[in-house]
Amino acid sequence: MIFDEFSQSRTRRTLTAGGRTLRALGLDGPLTGVLAIIVCLGVLVVYSASGQNLKMVEHHLGNIAIAVAALLALARLATPQYLRLFAPAAYIIGILLLIVVAVTGHIGKGAQRWLDVGFMRFQPSEIMKLAVPMMCAWYMHERPLPPTLKDLVVMGIMIAIPTAMIVTQPDLGTALLIAASGLIVMLLAGLQFRIILISIPLLGGAAFGAWHFIHDYQRQRILTFLNPENDRLGAGYHIIQSQIAIGSGGVFGKGYMNGSQAQLEFLPERSTDFIFAVIGEEFGLLGQLLILSLYGLVIGRALYLAMQGQDTFARLTGGAIALSFFVYVFVNSGMVSGILPVVGVPLPMISYGGTSMVTLLAGFGILMSLHSHRKLIGS
């Protein structure tokens, strides 16, 4: 409709040409646009947060290239049928790789999350971030919604196996994110509210049990989160320095590349997990609200695309991708600003570090593929 008002204009020709290209690539215009803005801002922030380290920026750009390639490939080439067929395979491959990692890690005597495949290293747990919700969606696809108790138990087991393996790596943050992505599928599938109400005390009990299961340092992190002042120079240091960085930024920030907390390295993990604090310090409240708003747009658009899905698999997978993305944003910004404990979750698409960027954009590739290919399937 809007386009009609300036027919024949160059703008219209450009836009329609752009729109055609996007459609041909299987991309969603608004979502792609906002994602592109976030990634570009991320590059600028990494340059500042790394202490103007061009090597790191180059590496970051390399990661972006791989991630974009993954997004384009999935959006254009992976049709929903293939994706649905591939879901169990991806899940099983992921489990196998986790076993490999656990075994080599056991031999290497230490935390082992990485798998070296020659040209690059990656974490099998990253695969599970997509494979777990897709597996749950695949399972529910054939079955009527809302899920029965048996369905819930089956999905619960599907979620629990990789989660438990990743907790013992130990990587509490990733494990929680994976569990959350599976739970999101259950919720979106229509999990009855009374079951949710009943499960809250059960989850509380499980958390209590988990307290004895997790590693000391993870326990310490939670205790430190509850009272950072107890451990000013240890684990509490991260939380305190991060809040100093954000709070000292004020409304407008100290200016690009002028955040003393970040530039003088008072802020730990400044270009990875705590990069949101760098944004707060250098660009202030306005900068952080801008980033949060962009994330809000991404989540909203992604949810909208998921709602338009034509079958259960497409809807549940899309919704899980959208809401998992939100969980990353919330956990990271919450931890950096001191309302959640410190778990190693990067800020999506901004933090330096390859694996999470690839997984996230691959997820959006799947989401857009499910959306753009919907007319090809008959109901």
């Binding site: 009527p144 999101i184 100093i244 590349m257 609200l289």
Partner: protein
């Protein structure tokens, strides 16, 4: 009950998902707003708090120590100044923990830059400073030590040579007991000073003028702000920007102008050279201390350089006690120097008239007692009046005076001249001496039998023996009171303070003490004439004063021995030398218009007239006849 068959209802399922999606969207919105409000709290409501913390994180203030005020004599001769020196300093946080610190100190001992005996106290001093402070561990390295450290430098992190201003005393040991000295700030010093205002300062005044006027001399420290990173290392810039950093220049300490005259001081010390003793010269018009000598002395530069424990012990254990300021801390029996004062007391209380004579047979005894108090002249002085009793220092005359006055009147009168009390000179460490009284004895002893004052004890005090003790400073102070005929001033060394960079000099006030009004001019004249006779032909100090163009009024004294130190080894020759009487002389000149009052004390100097009086004569010559002496 038939099992309900569930079939997929696409529209219902889509509806479920849409509802769930909308609910999820709302939850997302609420949670994002939660984060946003947390950010608002941190960045708007708590901004000031965090801004301050962030500033404190990145900016360290590096102290700039002030340069210490100069000390000048009354004619502007520099007696204490500041010269650049190289010193070895250590920063604990760069060295590491206590094991690394011990290792570093051990290596410094191994290469001979520290003495193993000093390591303990150096470590304590280091540990009582903040970890980031640069603590001096060896002051004033010489060229050879600098070279030795340079060779081994690579073995040390956190230890380096820095250039600082150090204290220098151009005259060395001269006037050291008046000036005092500076030395490294010790653990005890740190407890009483504001360590912040001494940040970056190495030396602090101890004793003498350096110690007493520490506040004036020290000055105000400055600082410059340094940008530091999380590791505490100073950095040039922060990201793309170089922030503005504040610098405040230090304010140098004030210069002090002393009453001392270095020329007179030099004469006094040269005259005392080789002796253990003290000489003090005071201007009776205002209490200005013109010379204050105590021998032997020591070189204060050695303290500013930093003494090793060994060197310090050597000074401390020296049998001549060079560290003791005899002028202020040596309390000795004043001997016959008290006679003019008791003569004046006799006149004031009316127990004797000036012309009343007493026959001196060479001894005295109290009525009803067989104990003989002997005169120094066994044959006696014959018939003597007051003037001649002073002139010849007749003991029997003053035994009678004491007997007539009684100890309490003697105490009260002598107190007005400052005996038994601090003179109040403006440097620390003075001893009050002792002017006995019946009340004093009641308090001084525990047993009732010992608290009783015996009449015989009064007789001994009459010639400055018995319980009475006075410091050379008190004698000078008191004789300046005779010179001024009753108007005594608190002795002072610092006459003026000149703030740094200012030509305006603040004069310190002259401090008069209550004047003696109960003594008439005639009464003053009697004892001044007696003291003039004592330096004239036939007087006890005749030889020393012969041929002077001005008239000296004086009184000799000798006092029974007092031995110093309990831990001296028995050495017959030395001990016997140390059993000789102490020699004293109090005086002022010119007698008719006194410009200078001088007290001289020589430990084991035998006779006041032959040992102490010539020293006083040289001091008078230096002060009153400046052209004759160089």
């Amino acid at each position: 009950m038939p099992r309900r068959v569930r079939i997929k209802d696409h529209y219902a399922e889509q509806h479920i998902f849409t509802i769930r999606g909308i609910v999820a969207g709302v939850v997302v919105g609420v949670l994002l707003l939660t984060v946003a409000s947390r950010l608002f709290y941190l960045q708007v409501l708590r901004h000031d708090y965090y801004a301050e913390l962030s500033q404190g994180n990145r900016v360290h203030t590096d102290p700039i120590p002030p340069s210490r005020g100069l000390i000048l004599d009354r004619h502007g001769v520099v007696m204490a100044e500041n010269l650049p020196a190289f010193q070895l300093e250590l920063v604990r946080e760069q060295v590491g923990g206590v094991p690394e610190l011990n290792a570093a100190l051990g290596r410094l001992v191994a290469i001979g830059l520290l003495d193993s005996e000093d390591v303990g106290s150096i470590r304590r001093t280091i540990l009582s400073h903040h970890v980031y402070e640069s603590v001096p561990i060896k002051l004033q390295l010489d060229d050879e030590e600098m070279a030795r450290f340079a060779v081994h430098r690579y073995e040390f992190t956190g230890v380096d040579i820095r250039t600082r201003l150090s204290r220098h005393y151009p005259f060395g040991a001269m006037a050291v007991h008046a000036l005092g000295y500076v030395a490294a700030i010790s653990e005890q010093d740190l407890k009483r000073i504001d360590s912040d205002s001494y940040a970056g300062t190495t030396l602090i005044g101890k004793l003498g003028v350096e110690g007493a006027y520490e506040n004036e001399l020290h000055g105000t420290r400055g600082y410059h702000e340094v940008l530091v990173n999380a590791a505490g290392r100073p950095v040039e810039r922060q990201g793309a920007f170089t922030p503005k950093l504040d610098t405040r220049q230090p304010v140098a300490g004030a210069d002090l102008i002393l009453s001392l005259d270095m020329r007179v001081q030099r004469v006094a010390e040269e005259a005392l050279a080789g002796k253990r003793g003290a000489a003090i010269a005071i201007d009776p018009h205002n209490g200005d201390v013109i010379a204050l000598a105590s021998t032997p002395g020591f070189d204060p530069n050695a303290f500013a350089r930093g003494l090793t424990t060994k060197q310090y012990d050597a000074l401390q254990n020296d049998i001549d006690k060079p560290l003791i300021n005899r002028a202020l801390r040596g309390a000795y029996p004043p001997g016959s120097t008290v006679k003019p004062f008791f003569a004046l007391a006799a006149l004031k209380y009316g127990v004797m008239t000036a012309d009343q004579t007493i026959f001196c047979p060479g001894h005295f005894s109290l009525p009803g007692s067989s104990h003989l108090f002997r005169d120094w002249k066994p044959k006696g002085h014959g018939t003597v009046s007051m003037r001649h009793a002073i002139m010849q220092s007749c003991d029997v005359y003053f035994y009678n005076v004491a007997n007539k006055l009684g100890i309490d009147r003697m105490h009260d009168f002598m107190s007005t001249f400052g005996f038994g009390d601090l003179s109040g000179i403006d440097i620390p460490g003075e001893k009050p001496g002792l002017m006995p009284s019946t009340e004093w004895k009641r308090h001084a002893y525990k047993r009732a039998a010992e608290q009783v004052w015996f009449p015989g004890e009064t007789i001994s005090v009459g010639i400055g023996q018995g319980y009475m003790l006075a410091t050379p400073m008190q004698l000078a102070h008191a004789v300046s009171g005779i010179a001024s005929r009753g108007q005594i001033f608190k002795p002072r060394l610092v006459t003026a303070v000149r703030p740094a960079g200012s030509s305006a000099v603040t004069q310190r006030p002259v401090l008069p003490e209550p004047s003696l009004t109960a003594v008439t001019a005639e009464q003053w004249s009697v004892i001044v004439e007696g003291m003039e006779l004592a330096t004239g032909p036939g007087g006890t100090a005749a030889a020393a004063t012969a041929g002077s163009p001005y008239k000296i009024a004086g009184k000799t004294g000798s006092a029974q021995v007092f031995t110093i130190g309990q831990n001296e080894k028995y050495n017959e020759k030395q001990v016997s030398e140390r059993m000789l009487d102490h020699a004293l002389f109090i005086s002022f000149a010119p007698a008719e218009d006194p410009k200078l009052a001088v007290a001289v004390f020589v430990e084991n100097g035998k006779h006041g007239g032959s040992t102490a009086a010539p020293i006083a004569r040289k001091i008078f010559d230096a002060y009153l006849l400046p052209d004759k002496t160089l």
